[in-house]
Symmetry: C3
Subunit: 358 residues, 3 copies
């Protein structure tokens, strides 16, 4: 399933064409006089409850059957079990949500930069730009950097020297890809994100008038696998001596901080505002909710899920779901809880004393 | 009250002129020989305690009367009740803090980009630039985008295709406004902010060798009302199928993450480092302290205030002030509290047992 | 110890040369037939456990002696006490970690922009560019701004009017330095960072149809001392009336938010994702872990250390280590703890009642 399509400014498809794209069975509604899906044009995609009569929708699971039975959509992507509940044309697929995700790109009207190199871009003579690549205005590609085939580089994005950008990579605008950073194929990075900033490494340098910090040159790079997706205004630091590594199929949201020498395993999902301190190793197929902070030099096993805004200060050795923190309360009640929290050890001792007298 | 003034490199005004700008009564000090406010020049604006003898200050409430009586300012914006406490010239206004906020812009020496389009900017032939607009060096405006009258677009900012920027909008530098994003009039966005990045939407795509993530094209946009102010390095994602919506008069600080399909009601204030997960709806006139995290798919009523760094995981149905978390302690005491927190349910059972024996 | 060296694309040094750079004693291994360090070339720098036979390593303390005795490095920077444990050539230095930090820059192959001004940069005629400065493609330097000698300004970075950049400053790419911001000498700022964005200052402006916010012009600036280092995608706001001040030798990581009128004392270290609200004053030689939030209008004494993700809502008056929050738990256990937290005051009363009956 390829993800990016040319913008043809139409994005209208017949039901038959969509069925073919999905390899789905087309079941025409018997409430309709239509007998051939190639006569029916779909103009867009929408939720069951808001889809209009020329739009496609999807029913991700049986819990949406109430919405399904009352939908005004032209057609719905449904699982075999849901066909009988669908009042309109069906595109029958074993995984409707995945099918919707795949088809969504065909309705995307967002244009990519034009193929070729915009005259305002500054491309170093030693850089290589792959066939079919799209280089927007204001892009800078420095010495010995390479941009893969059919890659799309958004306006005012900077690719520093010796960086390597794979095939079919999409970089949106105002991005900075640092020296010698490697991006695999089919990577997508959203605007404002920085890959390959220096790690936060300093040696104390005592002086007669107080401590200074001697910066440690960050000699590692960032190596990013295939199909990695990174959101907006995120920053991923280069390693100090070794590399920071983001494995294949990792997805990272906005405003995330990944410090130097972090290793993130395949398929892991990291929500917005997460911070991961230096040299921590995150397993495969983990999931971190928004705002989680992960301390440095720890290991998280494969298959760990952490609820949003939790603090992880030690290694987690087995798969499972974890959390820290407290729930929200009205402020007066909360203040009392917070005060008692600071007295918890005393409370514990008082219970113990009561028990001993018991 | 218009907010932006031409930079005249002088920013000197007579007391009479300032009184007229504010529609304030000018009460000249009887300790001074001055009899006409148009003879007195004000060169700047400062706090009561640090204002110099040619500067204006303001007394926001009676609790600052001690500073007022000892001020060295040339003149002070005061409420009618404070006139008798003011040793210097008075500009009498019913709301001195608002009056100060309004006048502050007259003392701002920060220049806007020059009117017109800088020759280094890349403006698509199909884009429209309103009268009086200011387009700084390195700006990129793509196909079918429109920039309103008297808008100011800072250096190296990118406005993607079909985006619509209202009148009198100020975008600072290195900003990225995505495809089809709509900004109302009088919006101000600070540097490094991304509007219209893709939402974090993926369908699991199971493969024989593990899970991949099928990206869902984010087909919605971001619609931002009038007079919205957004800080630096913030990111607001476009909606998946519907739009992300920021109503009129919302103010958002730096480093904020607003996920796809969030709706923020009129006049709400969001401090730095807040994260709002997808599809949550925030009411009108709410206030969120710094670092608050808000889970996805919840609703926050109008008039809710949340203290800094709280975690909101469920809907809040009535106005009021809320918080979560614990207060800071010295680390040894804190460690004991934190250990006891993990034993809280056991402690509760021990209390219950003691009570039953009682 | 200067930190930045020309990229000579070789980065090969003899042991004798490195000893001279460090002012270290060179002790050749008696297991080797080498009798002159100027015959031995070092090609890189690596950890004790991964260093190859042409690489240098370092032993920061006695706790790494196991790694030291089994290292395959060509030579190791060691303290005098460690010489006897070192199986290979020694560079003897009183502070091996500092010596490593210093030498690391000699092995850095990341190129700086070329000396001089790239033809695509837009430099205002009234701006001044110091001797030996490097101005990359797409840079914008506005009126009356100054760039110091040997400063290096990365691609697509913007320096607004009247900003002052010291000597030997390194700004990476896509940075925005605001109007009249002052950077000292030897400052380094990583990509995507914004210095001098507007503080979050508004006066409520009641209207018949609800509250608006009257923006307060932010008339102060940001003043940054010498040798300050700031990471990627951080934002530091300008002051409202006075300046935001970052003293000499402060180090700040990625994704940090520093609000208006904050003052940060000399040598303080601030990790990633920290947020500091307006008008707070941070002492000298403090240390803040990742994700800490600091409320506005408070004071933190010199020498305060705060563990990651703590919330500071009040002033801290004496040096020491502080924390807040709870530790991570498996989710079922955590839910019970979190529920009991909300009942803590009741639990306390129940204990008190039991005690009174006792």
């Amino acid at each position: 399933m390829n993800r990016h399509t040319e913008n043809d400014n139409k994005n209208v498809y017949t039901l038959t064409a969509l069925a073919q794209l999905l390899d789905a069975e087309l079941v025409l509604s018997n409430r309709s006089s239509i007998t051939d899906g190639s006569d029916v044009e779909v103009t867009g995609i929408a939720r069951l409850s808001s889809a209009e009569s020329s739009q496609l929708s999807f029913c991700a699971s049986a819990k949406y059957h109430a919405d399904l039975t009352s939908t005004s959509a032209l057609a719905v992507i449904v699982s075999p079990d849901s066909v009988e509940h669908c009042p309109v044309h069906c595109l029958v697929h074993s995984n409707p949500y995945l099918a919707f995700a795949f088809l969504s790109h065909y309705f995307n009207t967002r244009p990519a930069p034009a193929r070729g190199i915009h005259p305002s871009a500054v491309i170093a003579p030693t850089a290589t730009i792959g066939e079919g690549a799209r280089i927007a205005p204001g892009v800078v590609v420095m010495d010995y950097a390479s941009v893969g085939c059919n890659a799309s580089i958004g306006a005012n994005t900077v690719i520093e020297a010796s960086a390597s950008i794979g095939d079919n990579v999409t970089l949106m605008g105002n991005i900075n890809i640092g020296y010698a950073v490697q991006l695999g194929n089919d990577v997508r990075i959203d605007s404002g994100t920085i890959i390959g900033s220096d790690g936060f490494g300093y040696a104390p340098n005592p002086q007669s008038d107080g401590n200074r910090w001697q910066k440690i040159a960050q000699l590692g790079s960032v190596v990013i696998g295939d199909r990695v997706e990174i959101g907006a205004n995120t920053a991923i630091d280069r390693g100090a001596l070794d590399n920071t590594v983001i494995a294949d199929d990792v997805i990272i949201d906005n405003q995330v901080h990944v410090a130097h020498n972090v290793v993130i395993g395949r398929g892991t999902a990291i929500a917005g505002c997460v911070g991961i301190a230096g040299s921590s190793t995150i397993g495969k197929y983990c999931s971190f909710g928004g705002g989680v902070c992960i301390a440095g030099h720890i290991e998280i096993a494969d298959g760990v899920t952490v609820l949003g805004m939790s603090r992880i200060t030690g290694s987690i050795k087995k798969a499972g779901t974890y959390a820290s923190g407290t729930g929200v309360q009205e402020v007066d009640t909360w203040r009392k809880s917070a005060v008692r929290f600071s007295q918890l050890d005393t409370m514990h001792r008082r219970i113990k004393k009561l028990e001993s007298k018991d």
